[in-house]
Amino acid sequence: MIQREYDAIVIGGGIQGLCLGAYLQRAGMQVAILERRHEEGGCVCTRETTAPGFMHNHAVCMEFLDWMPFYHDFGLAKLGARTLYPDAQFGIPFSDGSPPIILYSIASAENYERSHRSISTYSKKDADTWVGLRRKAQDLEPLFCQFFYNPPAMPTPDDPDPFQTLNRTLLGLMGLPEHLAQGSGKDLIDFLFETPGLRTLLYKGLEDWGTPLETKGLGAFALISLFFVETNSRIMIGGTHTLAHAMVMACVREGVEFHERAEVNKILVRNGRAEGVVLADGTEVRARKLVASNADLKQTLLRMVGEEHLSRRWVESTRAFRYGRSCVLGSVHMALREAPDYKSARHDRDINRTFITVVGVDTPEEMTEHCREVEAGKIPTIPALFTSCLSVFDPTYAPAGRHALSAWIFFPKASALGRAEWARVKATYNRRVLERFESWAPNMTRTNVIADFFETPLDLQDDKRIPEGDFCYGAICPEQLVHKRPFLEAAQYRAEIPNLYLASSGQHPMGGVSAGVGYNAYKVIAQDFDLPYRPWETTGRGF
C-alpha cells in the first residue's frame, strides 16, 4: 500500500523520473516514484514482440552513456547495465550492390581512417570534410555536455536569444559559415557533402537523431545530431531493459519507493502550492516538499493540474506546444533465421556488421520524398529504415543461431490516422518493408522471417502515453528549443505552481536516452531547496 506522505513525489518512472528520483533521494529527500504502467523505464525497454527469445529494443542507440551523469554517479554499469561499442556504427548499403558507405566509431584513430576510406570510395573531399568535423566535435565534447547537462541559458540584455547564440557558437567552433543557421539540416548536409549516397545516409541520421530534415532554422542545431551524437552509440548487452533495471536498482538502493499501476489523475494544488497527488483509485498521496512530473507537458498541466490553477499565458502556451511530427516513429520487428546479408557486402563485409544500417532508400530524392510524405501526414510509400540486427553483436538477443532485427521508420503523428487505419497499417506494413528489404539483402525473403510485428505511433501513445508517438515529447523546431523549450516561462523546469517541477523530455535538452532533463531538473531543485548533493561541483567533469 502507498504510504501517504513523502518529501518528493515523482510522477512517472521513465528515465527522466528515475534519474531525478535517484538524485533527490541521495540528496536526503524521501522519494516516491509513481508509475502508471506495470514497470518502470518507459521507452527504455526491451520486449519479445515477435517471438519469445527474440529481444527487440524500443530505444536502441545509447550514445549518451559516456556523458550521462546518472550512469556514472550511480554506478549503473555495476548494476548490470553493460555495453558494447561496435566499430562500424552507421552505414548505408545500396540496392544495386554499390560499395556501402560506413561511418565508424570515434574510439580510435584507426576508426577515423576506416570512415575516411569508406567515404573516399565516392569522394575524398567528403571524407576529409566528415572526418574533420567529426574530430572537431569530439574535441568539443566537454562544451557539448555543458550545453546538454545544464538548464538552458535564458535571455538577458546581453544575450537576448540564447538559441541563436548556440547556433553561432556551434557553427563558429566547427569552422562553418553563419548563414547555415537559417537553413535546415538538409541545407547543411547539402552544403557540406557532394556524394548522394552519403547525403542519403545523413538525411536519415539527422531525422533519427532528433532533427527534422527540412525545418528551417535548424541548420546549426543539426550539427548536434550529425556530429556529436552520431557514431557514438553503444548497445546494451542483453537489451536496453538492463539499463532501465539498473536505473531502478540504483533508486532502490538509495531508498526510493516505487509504486506501479499507480496512475496519477490530479496534482493537488492547495495553499498556493503543489501539495501532492490523487491517484486514479482515489488515494491521496502528500508531498511535503515537491512534486515533479515526468509525464508530458499537456498531461501534466492541463489534465493533472487543471486550467483553473494556471494563468492564461500558461494555458495558451501549453496548448500551443506542438508534439511531432519530428521524432515520431513506427517500428518494425522481425525474428529471423539469418541476419541480413547485403549485396553491398561484396565490396565491404563490414556493412553486415554495422550497428545501424539505412535500408530502403538509395538516393537523397527518395529520402526527401519519404520525409515530405510523412510531414504531410501520410504513411510513407517508401519505407526508409533505420535498421539494427543486434544479435549480430550480442548473441543473447536471440536464440542460438537466430537473429532479432528491429527497424525504425518515420511515420505521421498518432492523431493523423484513425484507429482502424492504424490497425490496418499495423497488420500490413511489414509486407511492404520486407519486399523492399529483399532488394538490398536478397536473403531477406518471407522464409527468412520466423515472426514479425509492427508497432505504430498510436501503440506508443496507448502503451506509454508518448504524446503522438513523439519520443522527444515536443517538436524539435526553433520555436521550441533551448530557452523556449517548452516555452519561455517553463524552460527552467519550474511550473507556475510553486513546488511543482516539469521533468519530461519536452524540456531542455530533449529526448533520447540521455536522462538530461532529469539531471537538469535536479539542478534547479537542488538550488531551490539548497540540497547538499551537487556532483557538478564535486566531480571534475564540470557539469
Binding site: P52, G53, R82, V252
Partner: protein, 535 residues
C-alpha cells in the same frame, strides 16, 4: 586479469536462484547471480503479449504455496511496498461439462461439498473426509517432505508403517506407491465428473494421472485445492519482490550473462566463466539453478564429473508434454452457459473445459506421448481479470486458454510449432472455448495470440523441451531420485558445487522448495547460523 571474488555465485535468476541468493546475502555473504536473459524471473514472467495494457502471465500463473512456504515470510515477499499483493479467489476452480452442468471448488469447503453433492453426495462426503484428513497432516507433510532435503521413499514408507498410518487414516496406504492417480480416484470416488475435476487439479499441477506411483502425492495436493493465489499485477511481481530483497541484501545480479563454464581449482568449484569470457571467482559456493544437462554436460569440463553421475544426467527424463497456450485480450469478461446450472462458474478461476472423465486425460497423455497435439483440445482456462483489476485496460479482460501438448510434433519436430498449424490449433482451442460461452462470441475476443511449447523452450532454455516442471514427474524422478540418487541432496560430486533449481526436490512450479532445501544443506556445510524460520 583481475577477477572479482564472491562468497557465492548463483547460476540463474529464476525464483529458486533468486531466493537462495537473498538468503545467503542476508547471512552476510557476498553473492553474485548470473542470469542468461536480460532480466530476472525465469518462469515469473508477465508481458504485454497482445495489446498495450493487457498483462499476460506467460508461464507461472498459479501460486499455490503462499502461506505454506516459509520463504515468503523469511524474505518479506508478501505485502508492503516491495512485496506481492495476492488475491485468493473464493471460487478456486471449476469444471464446465458438455451437458451444461458445472462443478465448482471453493475456498469455503461447505460450498465445494454442496456443488459436488449435485453429482454425487457420496463423493462429496468422501472428498470432505479426504480434505480434512489431509489438512490434519499438512504441516507434517510440508515439514518432512516438501521443505527439507528429500528422504528416500522407502524410509517414508517405513516411517508411516511404524506410525501405523493405515490404522490412523482412511486414505494413506503404502499401496499408494504402486498406484496412479486414476487408481486412487477410481478407488474412492464413483462419479466421472467428480473424478475429472480432481484429476484436473492434479494435471494442472504437472502430475499426469496415469503415471504409476503418483497416487502418493495426490492426497497432499488435494489439501491445497483451496490455496490457489493470484499475484495482483502479474506473476512477475514476485520476481520484482525477490529482486528488491536481493538488492537489500547486497546481492549483485548481472543480466545477459550466460555462463559458459564452471571453473575448477583443485577439484573444487572456484568460479565461473561467462560466454563473453569474463570470469568471476567464488570462495565458498557455486549453486546452479539451471537444468542438469547444462550444469554437467555444458558447464563442466569432461573428466571432472564421475561417469556414473554423467550417465544419470544423460538419462534424465523430462515430462512427456508441455503446454500450448492462447493468450487472450478480451473486450469483456466471458460468461458460460453452465452458469444456468451453477452461477458460481462465471467467477471460477481455474477452469476445466473439456475433461469429462478420467479417460479423457488418458487420451491426451497417449496423444502427447505419440507426439501429437490432442485432436480435440481439452482446455484449462483462466481469466485473471476476474480477480486482478490491474491486468487489462478499463472494461477489458486478460485471459488464457491452455492445452497439454507435445514439444515435438511427430514428423516435424518442434519447428512444426512455427507452421500454420500454430494458428490453426489456436483457432481450434478458441472455438472450443466459445462453445461453452453464453453471450460471448468471437467478436468479443480482440486478440488471441498463441504461445507454444517451442516458445517456452526458446525463451527459457532451462525448460528443456518446454517442460516447466524441469523433469519428469514420476516415482523414478522424485524425492531422493531427483534428479538422480547421487545428486538428490543438492550437493554434487564437485566440492562447492550445489544444485538449487527445479531439477531437484521437489520439482518445478513456484514452490521455492529447491532453493530452501539447498540452503539447509549449504548452511550445514558451512556452519551458518540458521536465522530463518524453523520449519
Amino acid at each position: 586479469m583481475e577477477r572479482e571474488t564472491y562468497d557465492a555465485i548463483v547460476i540463474g535468476a529464476g525464483h529458486n536462484g533468486m531466493a537462495l541468493s537473498a538468503y545467503l546475502g542476508r547471512s552476510g555473504w557476498k553473492v553474485l547471480v548470473l542470469e542468461r536473459r536480460l532480466e530476472e524471473g525465469g518462469g515469473l514472467s508477465t508481458e504485454l503479449y497482445t495489446e498495450p495494457g493487457f498483462l499476460h502471465n506467460l508461464h507461472s500463473n498459479y501460486h499455490t504455496f503462499v502461506g505454506l512456504c516459509p520463504v515468503y515470510d523469511d524474505l518479506h515477499l508478501v505485502g508492503g511496498p516491495d512485496g506481492v499483493a495476492y488475491g485468493h479467489p473464493p471460487v478456486q476452480m471449476g469444471s464446465i461439462f458438455a451437458d451444461g452442468t458445472a462443478l465448482t471448488i471453493h475456498t469455503d469447503m461447505a460450498k465445494t461439498h454442496a456443488s459436488m453433492s449435485r453429482f454425487s453426495p457420496k463423493d462429496a462426503d468422501t472428498f470432505l473426509r479426504l480434505y480434512r484428513e489431509v489438512k490434519g497432516f499438512q504441516d507434517l507433510m510440508i515439514r518432512t517432505l516438501m521443505y527439507a532435503p528429500p528422504i528416500d521413499v522407502n524410509d517414508i514408507t517405513r516411517a508411516l508403517s511404524t506410525w501405523k498410518v493405515e490404522e490412523k487414516t482412511e486414505f494413506f496406504r503404502a499401496r499408494l506407491r504402486s498406484m496412479c492417480i486414476n487408481d486412487f480416484l477410481n478407488k474412492h470416488f464413483e462419479h466421472d465428473r467428480v473424478k475429472a475435476m480432481l484429476a484436473f487439479h492434479a494435471a494442472v499441477c504437472g502430475y499426469y494421472t496415469d503415471v504409476v506411483g503418483l497416487a502418493v502425492s495426490f492426497p497432499f495436493m488435494l489439501g491445497k485445492i483451496d490455496n490457489w493465489r493470484i499475484a495482483i499485477g502479474g506473476s512477475h511481481r514476485l520476481a520484482h519482490a525477490l529482486w528488491r530483497q536481493m538488492r537489500r541484501a547486497g546481492v549483485t545480479l548481472l543480466p545477459a550473462a550466460p555462463v559458459a563454464e564452471i571453473l575448477l581449482e583443485g577439484g573444487r568449484a572456484a568460479g565461473v566463466r561467462l560466454e563473453d569470457g569474463t570470469e568471476f571467482l567464488a570462495e565458498k559456493v557455486v549453486a546452479s539453478s539451471v537444468d542438469v544437462g547444462q550444469t554437467f554436460q555444458k558447464m563442466l569440463p569432461p573428466g571432472s564429473v564421475p561417469l556414473p553421475v554423467l550417465d544419470q544426467v544423460e538419462q534424465y527424463e523430462y515430462q512427456d508434454g508441455s503446454l500450448f497456450t492462447v493468450h487472450l485480450a478480451l473486450h469483456k469478461l466471458p460468461k458460460y452457459k453452465a452458469a444456468a446450472f451453477d452461477p458460481d462458474i462465471d467467477r471460477a478461476w481455474v477452469l476445466n473445459a473439456g475433461y469429462e472423465c478420467l479417460e479423457d486425460f488418458n487420451e491426451d497423455w497417449a496423444a502427447i506421448r505419440k507426439g501429437e497435439a490432442p485432436a480435440e483440445p481439452k482446455l484449462n482456462v483462466a481469466v485473471n481479470s476476474l480477480f486482478d483489476p490491474t491486468d487489462a485496460p478499463e472494461g477489458k479482460a486478460t485471459g488464457l486458454i491452455r492445452v497439454f501438448a507435445p514439444h515435438s510434433l511427430r514428423g516435424e519436430g518442434p519447428e512444426a510449432w512455427r507452421t500454420p498449424f500454430r494458428e490453426a490449433y489456436a483457432r481450434k482451442c478458441v472455438d472450443k472455448f466459445l462453445g461453452y460461452c453464453d453471450g460471448f462470441t468471437a467478436e468479443d475476443i480482440w486478440v488471441a495470440r498463441p504461445y507454444t511449447p517451442l516458445d517456452i523452450s526458446e525463451k527459457l532454455v532451462n525448460m528443456v523441451r518446454g517442460d516447466w516442471m524441469v523433469g519428469r514427474i514420476a516415482d523414478s524422478n522424485l524425492l531422493a531420485n531427483r534428479p538422480s540418487p547421487a545428486l538428490s541432496q543438492y550437493r554434487t560430486p564437485i566440492r562447492g558445487l550445489y544444485l538449487c533449481g527445479s531439477t531437484t526436490h521437489p520439482h518445478g512450479f513456484i514452490t521455492f522448495g529447491p532453493a530452501y532445501n539447498a540452503l539447509q544443506v549449504i548452511a550445514d556445510d558451512f556452519g551458518m547460523d540458521k536465522w530463518w524460520a524453523e520449519i
